[in-house]
C-alpha cells in the first residue's frame, strides 16, 4: 500500500535534484534565484509533463492495439510529428510555437490512423510483427523527411531539432506543454473505454462502446501528446514502451490501477535520464533522447528476450 | 519401424508429454486419439523431428531423429502439420514437386516427375495441377498437401489432424485415400484424429493418450469399448455397433448408460 507513495517520493527527490543540478550555481551565485526561475523550474516542470504524457500515451497505444510492444516510437507516430514540424518550418519559417504544435499534432494524428489502418488490413497480427510494421512506417516517413530536409539544406537542423533535449526548455517556451497535462487527465477518464475498444469493433459494439469514436479519441490523445512533446522537447524514444511494460511486469495487467504508476514511472525515467545527461559530461549536456535511446533499447531487448523465454 | 524410448517434453514447468515408450511396426494405419492437451500432436511432432524431446530417444527406420542427417531422414519420414501458410504463390504441381526435394535436391529427374504424377493421381488432383493453392477449396488444398508428403515417398508418413476443416464427405474420402496408401503403397501412416469414430473405421491400431501418457493401445475392437473410451476422455462414452462398425456415442453424457462411465483403461496392452 505504501509502494505508490514511495515511488512518488522517489520522483520528487529526482525532481528536486533536477532543480539544483547544473553548471550555474543557483544557490550561491549572483542572480541565482532568477536563473532558477528562468531555466530550472521550467525544465523540471517540462520533465514531469512530458514524462507523464509520453508514458501514458504509450499505454493508450498499447490498449488500442492490444499489443504491449507498440508506442509512439514503434508506430511511426513520432516521425509523422517530425515531418509535420519540418513542413511547417519550411513553409512558414517564423511560425509561432502553437502553430508548430498544431501541425505536428495533426501529422501525428494522421500517421497514427495510417498505422491503425494498416493493422486492420494485415492478416498476420503476431505481437512482434506489429511493431516491426510500425517501425517500417516510421522509416518511410523519415525517408520523406530526409528528402525534404536534404533538398532544402536543412539536414543538420533536422538532427538538432529531433534530438530530444530539455536544454532549451526555458521560460516562455515550455508553457505550451501544459496542453499535455490535459491529455493525461483525459486518459484517466476514458481508460476503460480505451481498453474495451482495444478488444475490437465487435466486442466494443456488443458492450455498447462506440468503437470509432473511442479509437479516434485515443488516437488524438496520443497525437497531441506526441506532437507537443516533439515540438518542445524532441524525440523521447521508448519512454511509452518501457514504462508501461515494467509497470505491468511488477504489478500485473490491471490498466486502471496501473495508470498512476505509469505516470510516476514516466517522470522518474525521464528525469533520471535527464540528470544522467546533464552530469555525465559536465559542462556539456548529453541530450536526454540519447540516454533514453540507449537505456530504452537495452530494456526493450531485455523485455523481448524475457517474453521469448516465457513463451517457449 | 518407429521406436520411442522414454521420451518426455516439458513446456515451462508442466509436463506436456511422457515419459512415453512405444513401438509402431511397419505398415498399416495408426491413429493417435485423446482429449485436448493429451500430447498427441507433441508426440507426432517429436517423431517428425520438428520438435526436440527433453529426454529420450526416437528412432524411425533405424535412424535417430535428433542426430541423423536431415537429408537421410527426409527419405524415411515425412510429416504434415495442421497449419500450412506460405508467402509464395504455388501451384499444386509446384507444391507436390517439393516432395521430391530430398531425392533430387530440386532438379527433378524423370523418375521424380513420375512420382509427382502418381501422387497427384492418387489424390485425384489431375486437372488441378496448374491451379494456385489459394484458388482451391479447403478439401482440395488438404489433398494437395497430402499429395506432397506422398510424393516424398517415405516409408513413414505422419499427419497432424488431416481431417481438420474437412466436411463429412471429404473427411471420409481422405481417410479412404490414406487407408489405400497404407494398403496399396505399403506406407506406415500415423495420424492424429479428433474423432475416434474415424479411427475406429479406418485404423489398424489406435493409441490413446491422456495427460501426456499412453493410457490405452490396441486394435479398434480393443479400444472401442465404453469403459476404455470413458476413461481416456474422462466423460461417459457408449459404444454401439452399426453395420459392423463400432461407433462411440458421447452426445448428451446424461443420456449415456451409467455402466459406461465406470470402466478403467484395462484394455491397454503396451
Amino acid at each position: 500500500m505504501l509502494a505508490l507513495p514511495a515511488a512518488i517520493a522517489l520522483a520528487i527527490a529526482l525532481l528536486a535534484a533536477s532543480l539544483f543540478v547544473g553548471v550555474y550555481d543557483v544557490v550561491g551565485a549572483e542572480g541565482g534565484g532568477e536563473m532558477f526561475w528562468i531555466t530550472r523550474v521550467p525544465r523540471t516542470v517540462a520533465l514531469v509533463l512530458s514524462g507523464c504524457a509520453m508514458a501514458v500515451s504509450g499505454l493508450v497505444m498499447q490498449m488500442l492495439t492490444q499489443n504491449r510492444f507498440v508506442d509512439a516510437t514503434t508506430s511511426g507516430t513520432t516521425e509523422w510529428a517530425a515531418l509535420g514540424l519540418l513542413v511547417t518550418l519550411l513553409v512558414v519559417p517564423t511560425a509561432p510555437l502553437p502553430v508548430q504544435m498544431l501541425v505536428a499534432s495533426l501529422a501525428a494524428f494522421a500517421g497514427t490512423l495510417v498505422f491503425l489502418a494498416v493493422l486492420r488490413r494485415i492478416a498476420l497480427r503476431s505481437t512482434l510483427v506489429v511493431p516491426l510494421i510500425g517501425i517500417m512506417l516510421g522509416a518511410v516517413v523519415s525517408a520523406v523527411t530526409t528528402y525534404l530536409a536534404a533538398t532544402n539544406n536543412a539536414l543538420q537542423l533536422l538532427g538538432t531539432w529531433f534530438m530530444g533535449s530539455f536544454t532549451s526548455v526555458v521560460r516562455g517556451r515550455y508553457e505550451v506543454l501544459w496542453a499535455v497535462a490535459i491529455v493525461t487527465i483525459l486518459v484517466f477518464v476514458v481508460a476503460d473505454r480505451l481498453t474495451v475498444a482495444g478488444l475490437g469493433r465487435d466486442v466494443a459494439t456488443t458492450v455498447g462502446v462506440r468503437y470509432e469514436a473511442v479509437v479516434l479519441l485515443g488516437t488524438s490523445l496520443v497525437a497531441v501528446a506526441t506532437g507537443v512533446t516533439v515540438v518542445v522537447v524532441g524525440f523521447l524514444p521508448f519512454l511509452g514502451l518501457v514504462v508501461p511494460n515494467i509497470v505491468s511486469l511488477v504489478r500485473g495487467d490491471d490498466l486502471r490501477s496501473n495508470l498512476p504508476w505509469v505516470c510516476v514511472g514516466g517522470v522518474v525515467l525521464v528525469t533520471a535520464c535527464d540528470l544522467v545527461g546533464r552530469t555525465v559530461r559536465m559542462p556539456f549536456e548529453v541530450p536526454v533522447s540519447m540516454v533514453l535511446g540507449i537505456v530504452g533499447s537495452a530494456v526493450f531487448i531485455a523485455l523481448l528476450l524475457r517474453q521469448r523465454a516465457v513463451r517457449s | 519401424m518407429i521406436t520411442i524410448e522414454a521420451v518426455d517434453k516439458h513446456y515451462r514447468a508442466t509436463r506436456a508429454l511422457g515419459p512415453v515408450d512405444l513401438e509402431i511396426a511397419s505398415g498399416g494405419l495408426t491413429a493417435l486419439v485423446g482429449p485436448n492437451g493429451a500430447g498427441k500432436s507433441t508426440l507426432l511432432t517429436i517423431v517428425g523431428r520438428l520438435l526436440d524431446p527433453d529426454s529420450g530417444r526416437v528412432r524411425v527406420g533405424g535412424l535417430d531423429v535428433v542426430t541423423a542427417k536431415p537429408r537421410e531422414l527426409a527419405k524415411v519420414v515425412s510429416i504434415l502439420k495442421q497449419e500450412n501458410h506460405f508467402v509464395a504463390r504455388l501451384t499444386v504441381r509446384q507444391l507436390v514437386s517439393f516432395g521430391r526435394f530430398p531425392h533430387s535436391q530440386g532438379r527433378l529427374t524423370a523418375a521424380d516427375r513420375e512420382a509427382v504424377d502418381r501422387a497427384l493421381a492418387f489424390l485425384d488432383l489431375e486437372g488441378f495441377e496448374e491451379r494456385f493453392l489459394d484458388e482451391l477449396s479447403g478439401g482440395q488444398r488438404q489433398r494437395a498437401f497430402v499429395a506432397m508428403v506422398l510424393a516424398q515417398d517415405t516409408e513413414v508418413v505422419l499427419l497432424d489432424e488431416p481431417l481438420a476443416a474437412l466436411d463429412m464427405r471429404h473427411a471420409a474420402a481422405m481417410m479412404q485415400r490414406l487407408r489405400d496408401a497404407a494398403d496399396e503403397l505399403g506406407k506406415t501412416i500415423v495420424l492424429v484424429v479428433h474423432d475416434v469414430n474415424f479411427a475406429s473405421a479406418y485404423a489398424d491400431r489406435i493409441i490413446a493418450l491422456a495427460d501426456g501418457r499412453i493410457v490405452a493401445s490396441g486394435t479398434p475392437e480393443e479400444i472401442m469399448r465404453p469403459e476404455v473410451l470413458s476413461a481416456v476422455f474422462d466423460t461417459p462414452v457408449d459404444v454401439v455397433e452399426h453395420g459392423g462398425q463400432r461407433l462411440a456415442v458421447y452426445y448428451r453424457p446424461d443420456a449415456v448408460p451409467a455402466a459406461a462411465g465406470t470402466g478403467s483403461a484395462s484394455a491397454s496392452e503396451h
Binding site: 492478416a123 510483427v129 518511410v140 531487448i301 517457449s312 | 537421410e72 527426409a74 509464395a88 517439393f98
Partner: protein, 345 residues
C-alpha cells in the same frame, strides 16, 4: 469448376508432355528479365556515352568513358547487392514487407562513420582504401553472425524476436550517432553528410573489384541453391520435413544478407527502400515465385531502376547527388501504397 480447371497454358510443349516441365504457368525466361536487362544495358551505355563533351572520334572520349565506368559499375553492384539481399531476406523471414535495413546495419554503418569523423575529425576523410572497407565489412559480418547465432540458437529460437532485437539495436546505434553528430563542427558534419547520403556518383575504383567479387560469389551461390531457397520459403515445418537444417540455413542466409548490405552500404551509404521497391516489382512481374525466376529478375530490375534513376537525375534534372534520397522517397511511398492496398499475407 471445370472452366477454372482449364488453365491457359503458356508453354505448348509443356502441356503436350505434362511430366516434362515443372509447371506450365512458368516461362523459361521471364519476359520481365528480358525487358529489365535491355533497359539496364541501355541506361548503362547511356550513362557512359551520353553528354560526353569530347567527340567520339578523339581519344579523350574513351578517357571520360573509362572514368564514368567506375560510377556505372558501382551503381550496378549496389543494385545487384540490394536486390539479392532483399529477396533473400524475404525468403528467410517468410515475410515480404520487411527490408534487411531493418536489422540495424545502416545504423551500425552510420555509427561507424560518425565515430570516425568524431574521433579523427577532418583527418578521417583521408582514411580510405581497401583496408578500411575490409575492416568495416568484417565488423558487420562479425556482428551479424554473433547476433543471429545467439538469437536464433537453442530451443527458444524465434525469428520475430530476432528481427525486433535487430531493429531496437539499430535505434540504439542511431541514438549514439545522432548524439555524436551533434558534437561535430558544421564543416565536419558536411564531410559526414556527404558520406552518409548517396555518394553513388563517387565510386571508389580500388574497392570495386573486391565488392564485385563478393556480390558475384553470393549471386552464384544463391543461384545454385535456388531449389533449396524455394523449400526454405515454405517455412520451418515443411523445410525440416523435406530434409533441410532449417535453423542453420536461416542463420547462413541472414549472414549473407548482412554481407550484401554491408557491401552496398560501404559503397554508397544506407538504403532502406530501394531493395523493397525492386523485390516487390519482381514478385509482380514474374509468373512464378520460384527463386530461379525471382532472383535474376530482381537483380536485372534493380540494375535497370538504379541506372535509370541515375541517368534521369543526371541528364534531366542535373541533380545526381540526390539519386538515393529520391529513390528512398519513391521506395517509401511504394511501401506505403503496397501495405495499404494489399495488406499482408
Amino acid at each position: 469448376m471445370s472452366a477454372e480447371a482449364s488453365v491457359p497454358t503458356v508453354g505448348a510443349e509443356a502441356s503436350a508432355r505434362p511430366a516434362a516441365a515443372a509447371t506450365t504457368r512458368e516461362r523459361r525466361v521471364p519476359l520481365a528479365a528480358i525487358v529489365a536487362g535491355a533497359a539496364a544495358a541501355l541506361f548503362a551505355v547511356g550513362l557512359l556515352v551520353w553528354g560526353n563533351p569530347v567527340p567520339a572520334d578523339q581519344p579523350g572520349f574513351w578517357v571520360i568513358v573509362q572514368s564514368r565506368s567506375v560510377a556505372v559499375a558501382t551503381i550496378a553492384l549496389v543494385a545487384a547487392a540490394q536486390a539479392l539481399a532483399t529477396v533473400l531476406f524475404h525468403t528467410a523471414t517468410g515475410n515480404r514487407i520487411l527490408t534487411p535495413s531493418i536489422l540495424g546495419f545502416d545504423a551500425l554503418y552510420t555509427l561507424m562513420q560518425t565515430a570516425l569523423v568524431f574521433v579523427f575529425g577532418m583527418a578521417a576523410t583521408q582514411v580510405e582504401g581497401v583496408g578500411k572497407i575490409v575492416a568495416q565489412s568484417a565488423l558487420m559480418v562479425l556482428f551479424a553472425t554473433l547476433l543471429y547465432g545467439w538469437l536464433f540458437s537453442g530451443k527458444r529460437a524465434n525469428l520475430h524476436v530476432l528481427l525486433l532485437v535487430g531493429v531496437v539495436l539499430g535505434v540504439g546505434f542511431g541514438s549514439v550517432s545522432t548524439f555524436l553528430q551533434r558534437m561535430l563542427t558544421p564543416s565536419e558534419f558536411d564531410v559526414l553528410a556527404a558520406r552518409l547520403y548517396g555518394s553513388i556518383g563517387r565510386g571508389n575504383p580500388e574497392v570495386l573489384p573486391w565488392a564485385a567479387l563478393v556480390v558475384a560469389a553470393i549471386a552464384v551461390w544463391a543461384w545454385r541453391r535456388r531449389a533449396a531457397l524455394d523449400v526454405i520459403a515454405l517455412g520451418r515445418d515443411a523445410a525440416t520435413s523435406l530434409g533441410l537444417r532449417y535453423r542453420r540455413e536461416i542463420v547462413v542466409l541472414l549472414v549473407v544478407v548482412a554481407v550484401l548490405v554491408s557491401v552496398s552500404t560501404t559503397m554508397v551509404g544506407p538504403m532502406t527502400f530501394f531493395g523493397f521497391l525492386v523485390a516487390i516489382m519482381s514478385y509482380q512481374f514474374v509468373s512464378s515465385d520460384r527463386h530461379g525466376q525471382v532472383l535474376p529478375v530482381a537483380v536485372l530490375l534493380g540494375l535497370a531502376t538504379l541506372l535509370g534513376a541515375y541517368f534521369v537525375m543526371q541528364h534531366v534534372f542535373a541533380a545526381a547527388g540526390l539519386v538515393s534520397i529520391v529513390i528512398e522517397f519513391v521506395g517509401g511511398l511504394a511501401f506505403l501504397i503496397v501495405i495499404l492496398r494489399k495488406g499482408l499475407r
